[in-house]
Amino acid sequence: MAQLRPEYGAALQAVETELWAQDVLDPVSLELCRLRIAQLLRCDEALAERTPAAVAAGLDEGMVDGLSRWATDDRFDARLRACLGYAEQLLIDAQGVTDEHAAAVIAAIGEGGFLVLTYGCGLFETTQRARLVLGAGRQPT
């Protein structure tokens, strides 16, 4: 897809590069949210991938295995739970984010983290939707 509109595609790639290069939200939290969105959208292709920055930062595959149980799994601390709950809410309905919810996320990861996570989750969602609509995201059952 991106090759067909090289300049536009390169601009998207630059956004993705900068998302992982920013320093206000750690790559492991970001990656776990990306993978949770892939689980919910059933984008198997995205779920099978690992972002190098997250791996380099110590992404724990055990946590990936327990990702669908993040709300009760002890490996997920309050900070990660705030991120993952927020990522799920954004995917379902950004209008459903309440002042209290946003304040809780900001308390967990700061205002910068909140802004980056919000934009990042939107990007994860749409890039995964693009894969799915192209018929490339989901493995046959």
Binding site: Y8, A14, L90, T118, G137
Partner: protein, 161 residues
């Protein structure tokens, strides 16, 4: 909807935004917007897809923004009456195909039907279809940021730009 910013207000009166905390990311996002236009697909079709994306994200700015350049090229407000059910609107085949893609993208992307895929291919060259998909990737993250950060306008009126 919240039009009360959820981040700190800076000395210049603006709420803290992405450019203040992640300038590289914000600059890349801005470049992504800039490079999107003029593009290969006619602006009216792209405008319809953009408005539908804004509606489905419940973003006040995105669903109400109207690009003057699209209006000059034939965009009419009545075209937005059937964005969610384009088969019922007075739209061109090309507009219908683009809107069917957009509706599938946001509703059930894995279920994008073969007939709609064929309709898209019949109405758009591969690079044009790629442009529509890149548009769909681009629109929503900014919409969600606007909504969640509480920076939507208080009024729900059309904005011409």
């Amino acid at each position: 909807m919240s039009s009360v910013p959820r981040t700190s207000i800076l000395a210049d009166g603006r709420p803290l935004g992405l450019a203040d905390v992640a300038p590289g990311l914000a600059a890349a996002q801005a470049a992504f917007q800039q490079v999107a236009y003029p593009g290969q697909v006619d602006l009216v079709t792209r405008e319809l897809v953009r408005i539908l994306s804004g509606r489905l994200a419940h973003c006040t700015i995105c669903r109400n923004l109207r690009l003057n350049a699209a209006v000059k090229r034939g965009f009419e407000e009545s075209m937005t009456d059937h964005l969610e059910d384009p088969e019922n609107g007075d739209l061109t085949d090309r507009q219908r195909a683009a809107l069917r893609l957009a509706n599938a993208f946001f509703d059930d992307p894995a279920g994008y039907p073969a007939d709609a895929r064929a309709e898209l291919a019949a109405n758009f060259a591969p690079d044009e279809a790629a442009e529509l998909l890149l548009d769909l990737i681009r629109f929503r993250p900014g919409s969600k940021l606007t909504v969640a950060a509480g920076t939507e306008p208080a009024s729900d009126e059309l904005i011409f730009q």
